[in-house]
């Protein structure tokens, strides 16, 4: 079981987020999860926190299958003048607390399927409304890891499903 829906768009920059948290799922050609361990907790924190570059929410309808799905993507960037990072890391933030797990992004973007259902009219589906409301209980914050191993502070958390 993988998340092919997450392979759309800039596939190399998307993370199969949940799979990456444990690294125990089956692999496929679409699986882009990272293999490099997170920066150590003792890493030096320096510089400004990164910011959200873009966040989009996309509905896709598959008429042949008679289904729809909604996908969210959020991309981060360093502030102007900051060096390009070696890599990016994210941490899940929920209404119940902040996960202690830190996961590496293969690029600078988080991608996540937020809703899916039967039919061809997602906007009319109460399941989509409920799923997006549930997804708003989940957020991600990101930080950049530099070549010297130092890290930026965490960005502000970005709520799953938000756009901007």
């Amino acid at each position: 079981m993988t998340s092919p829906v997450l392979s759309r768009g800039p596939a190399a920059a998307l993370l199969t987020l949940a799979a990456g948290l444990t690294g125990c799922s089956s692999a496929s050609g679409n699986d882009t999860r990272a293999t490099v361990p997170a920066a150590p907790s003792s890493a030096t924190v320096a510089g400004p926190a990164p910011v959200l570059a873009s966040a989009t929410l996309t509905d896709d309808v598959d008429p042949a299958a008679g289904t729809w799905s909604t996908t969210w993507q959020a991309c981060f960037e360093p502030l102007p003048g900051e060096e390009d990072p070696e890599r990016w890391e994210v941490q899940a933030v929920t209404a119940e607390g902040v996960s202690p797990r830190i996961e590496e992004l293969p690029g600078s973007c988080v991608g996540l399927q937020l809703a899916q259902g039967p039919g061809a009219a997602p906007a009319d589906d109460p399941g989509r409304t409920a799923a997006l409301a549930d997804a708003a209980s989940l957020a991600y914050r990101a930080r950049a890891v530099r070549a010297d191993g130092s890290v930026t502070p965490w960005s502000e958390p970005v709520v799953a499903g938000s756009v901007g």
Binding site: C24, V98, P100, A115
Partner: protein
């Protein structure tokens, strides 16, 4: 806030009907929360694997309760078991504030590994959650990695004599009725009462939706958070048993909440370990401790062990079983003269920080009336608003004076539907 100094006396957990020593059961990695095994229920002595029961949690028939490792049982949770109706809970699950598991009257309750029982949820009779599983529907099988499996039961939801399979969930104020099986891959929508197997497995009937990757990611994070809480409260208890009693410090110990903070009453930080309610961490109450005690009922959990601070104005009246909780950096602000109905839940979280959009925080204005078992989550409630009994307001800005009728679900500013039970 400054780091609190810990002093104190021995903790006492509420354990009824448990006069015999603990029995480890057939699995050496499980334990029973008998008198000598609360609030820390550990098989190997390590805080990393210990299960922690808040001292206010009530266990009836503890010899017939079997707990796995790394379980967090929150304030005022109740586990009611008997010889004929045992309860088992798997590893890395959590039983949050004011959750009820009552197996009596049935043949027992089985809760599997990695099950989240959120604030105010209940499980009754002969029930199974996260133990059985069936093949995922193709829509889910093709798009979702369920990882190690999980189940989420949201605020005020209920499973009554039913089976909830692995990789499923029950939304806020929803219910799975006796005899029904909620299969893997489906979540019950908020407020819905699923009374047939057909309703439980067909989204076209309007009561369930498909599991998504976001659901799995959310569950993963919540499970990790509560594993941390089990460890951190265990360490706090071992450092000072009185520190997990009454109005007292949060455990700290995490990178997001490293310090132990005391609550404050009328501007004075203080520990009140003898308080029958739990007020934990950086909670800033306008009332003096005496006035707060006079205005509040029993089994109240105001738990700022992640989000902080909570700023709570003068309480008009707070009935039994009220719960406050929130995410880190989620400031919960409640105004003056608010009336909290029995079992009301005020929960912060979901802060939006997308550029160009306002931040959303949980704010309850002055003179608001919260009905019994109502839920406020990620919302702003204007002054004088009234929320009906068993209604939920999620992701919504309610204007001053607004009225939400009883048994109504409001999501993102719109009425989603009725609470059907």
């Amino acid at each position: 806030m400054r780091r609190a100094l810990l002093t104190g006396s021995a903790a006492t957990a509420v354990v009824a009907g448990t006069l015999t020593p603990a029995l480890a059961g057939t699995d050496e990695r499980r334990c029973s929360p008998t008198r000598d095994d609360v609030p820390v229920c550990s098989t190997d002595g390590s805080a990393a694997t210990a299960t922690f029961l808040d001292p206010t949690a009530t266990v009836t028939g503890a010899r017939h309760v079997s707990l796995g490792e790394q379980i967090y049982v929150g304030p005022f949770a109740e586990l009611r078991a008997s010889k004929r109706a045992p309860i088992s809970i798997g590893a890395s699950s959590n039983v949050q504030d004011n959750v009820l598991l009552d197996a009596r009257g049935g043949s027992g309750i089985q809760v599997g590994d990695r099950v989240i029982l959120a604030h105010g949820s209940s499980v009754r009779g002969s029930a199974s959650i996260g133990v059985e599983s069936s093949p995922l529907p193709p829509q889910v099988e093709d798009t979702v990695d369920t990882l190690e499996g999980s189940v989420f039961m949201s605020f005020g939801s209920e499973v009554d004599g039913a089976t909830v399979e692995l990789d499923s969930g029950v939304s806020a104020l929803a219910r799975v009725a006796p005899g029904v099986t909620l299969p893997s891959g489906f979540l019950v929508l908020p407020g819905k009462n699923v009374t047939t197997d057909a309703e439980a497995s067909d989204p076209a009937l309007g009561k369930v939706r498909y599991l998504t990757q976001a659901d799995v990611a959310f569950n993963e994070a919540v499970i990790h958070v509560n594993e941390s809480l089990a460890r951190e409260y265990t360490e706090l208890y071992r450092e000072d048993p009185s520190a997990v009693q009454g109005a007292n410090v949060d455990p700290g110990g995490s990178d997001v909440n490293p310090d132990r903070d005391l609550p404050s009453f009328a501007g004075e930080e203080q520990a009140q370990p003898d308080s029958p309610n739990r007020v934990i961490g950086d909670v800033d109450l306008a009332d003096t401790y005496d006035r707060f005690t006079q205005r509040t009922g029993e089994r109240i959990a105001i738990r700022a062990d992640e989000g902080e601070p909570f700023v709570i104005g003068h309480v008009d009246r707070m009935d039994d079983d009220v719960v406050f909780h929130a995410l880190e950096h989620t400031d919960v602000h409640v105004g003056d003269d608010v009336r909290y109905g029995e079992g009301a839940i005020v929960h912060g979280g979901g802060r939006v920080v997308v550029e160009g959009q306002p931040e959303e925080q949980t704010v309850v204005g002055d003179r608001v009336r919260l009905g019994d078992e109502s839920v406020i989550f990620r919302s702003t409630i204007g002054d004088g608003a009234r929320i009906g009994d068993r209604s939920a307001v999620v992701g919504t800005d309610l204007p001053a004076g607004a009225v939400v009728p009883p048994h109504t679900i409001v999501l993102n500013g719109e009425v989603f539907g009725a609470v059907e039970w």
